[in-house]
Amino acid sequence: MNKELEHSFVEQLQTHQNIVHKVCRLYTNNADAHNDLFQEITIQLWRAYPKFRGDSKFSTWMYRVGLNTAITLYRKSKRRISTQQFDAVEFKIKAEEYDDTEEQQLKLLYKAVHQLNDIEKALVFLYLEDKDYREISATLGISEVNARVKMNRVKKKLKTILNP
C-alpha cells in the first residue's frame, strides 16, 4: 500500500476521530464494543479511502462510511453480546435518585436514544451533527420528505420513551 496515502489518511482520521467515537457512542453499550466498532469503521474508512476524491469534506465522507459500518457492515460477535452493559446498570442506580437537573435529563435522553433502532439512531446522529434533510436523505437513501416524516416520528418516540 502507498505509504503516503496511508500517512495522509491516518493524519486526517486522527484529527476527525471524534466523529467515529460519536457513532460508536450511539451504537454500542460498552467500552469493548465501542473499541471494536471503532476498529471496524477505521478499516472500512481506509478501504474506501482510495476512492475518496476530496470533492466532499473528509468529515462528511466519514459520516457515511461510519454509519454504513455501524448499521450494515459491522458484525457483532458473541463476545460482545455477552459483555455486561454497564450503562444500563449505572442507569438503574441513577434513576432511583433522580433529580430534575439537566445532567440527569441528559442521561435519560442518551438512555432513550439507545433504545431506538439502528435507522432511528442514524437519523438522530445526523440531526445532532447538524446535517440538513438533503444530506440525511442522501446518506440513508430515502427521500427528503420521508426523512422529515421519520424524524418527526423519532422525536415522538423519544417523548414516549421518556414519559411513558
Binding site: F9, T42, Q44, R47, N68, R75, A112, G141, I142
Partner: protein
C-alpha cells in the same frame, strides 16, 4: 425545549472525553482484519464454489466403480451436455459473485449498500438452488440410466409388482426431498443469522418509502 435540542447542545459541547487514539494506534488499526458481513458473505460464496466443485470431482477419483459408471455415462450426450452446462454455470457464478461483490461500496447510501449486499446473497442463493436442482434431477435420471444399461437392474424392475414399484418411487422421492430439506434448513440458518440485522434495517428503510 425539544428533547433532541437539549441533547444537541450537549452533543456538540466537545467536553465529552473520548479516548484519543494516537497515530501509532490508528496505523495498527488500519492493518487489522475486517470482520464485516460482506467478507463473511464472500467466504461463504467461495466456500460454496469449492464445495460443489469438489462434490462433482472427488467421487470420480475416490471410487473406481463410480469412475467406471461415470465413464460409461459420458458416452451419453445428455450427460455430457449437462456437465458442460454445469461448468458454464460455475463460470457464470464466479463472474456474478465477483461483479456483485465489487459493487458493494461503503460510500453508497445506506439503502443502496444494503441492496448490493442482498444482491450478492441472491447470486450465492441462485447458485445453491441450481446445484440442488441438479441433484434433484440427477437422482431419477441416473436411476433411469441404470435401468437402461444394467440388465440385472432392468430385470428386477420388470419383475417388480405395482406395489413394489410404488415403494421404489416413494423411497426415491423421500430421500431426495430429505436431502433438499436438510440443505435448505442449513442455508436458512446460515443466512438467517448473518443477515438478520441487515434485513431488519432494510425493511425499516423500505417501510418509509411506502
Amino acid at each position: 425545549m425539544d428533547e433532541l435540542d437539549l441533547l444537541k447542545k450537549d452533543w456538540n459541547k466537545d467536553s465529552t472525553d473520548y479516548k484519543s487514539y494516537s497515530d501509532t494506534d490508528l496505523y495498527k488499526m488500519v492493518h487489522k482484519k475486517s470482520s464485516s458481513i460482506v467478507k463473511t458473505l464472500l467466504y461463504i460464496g467461495i466456500g460454496e464454489l469449492v464445495f460443489w466443485l469438489l462434490a462433482g470431482i472427488l467421487p470420480y477419483y475416490l471410487s473406481t466403480t463410480f469412475k467406471e459408471k461415470l465413464d460409461t455415462s459420458y458416452e451419453n450426450p445428455l450427460f455430457v451436455a449437462l456437465n458442460i452446462f454445469s461448468y458454464f454455470v460455475i463460470l457464470l457464478f464466479i463472474y456474478f459473485l465477483y461483479k456483485s461483490y465489487k459493487s458493494i461500496s461503503s460510500t453508497d447510501s445506506a439503502k443502496k449498500l444494503m441492496e448490493s449486499i442482498l444482491q450478492t446473497r441472491k447470486v450465492i442463493k441462485y447458485y445453491v438452488v441450481f446445484n440442488l436442482s441438479l441433484i434433484f434431477i440427477s437422482i431419477p435420471l441416473s436411476l433411469y440410466f441404470e435401468y437402461l444399461e444394467n440388465p440385472e437392474f432392468h430385470e428386477q424392475i420388470l419383475e417388480a409388482s405395482t406395489s413394489q414399484m410404488f415403494v421404489i418411487y416413494l423411497v426415491v422421492v423421500i430421500v431426495a426431498a430429505l436431502i433438499l430439506l436438510i440443505l435448505w434448513f442449513f442455508y436458512r440458518v446460515i443466512y438467517g443469522i448473518l443477515l438478520k440485522r441487515l434485513n431488519k434495517n432494510y425493511d425499516e428503510l423500505k417501510k418509509l418509502e411506502l
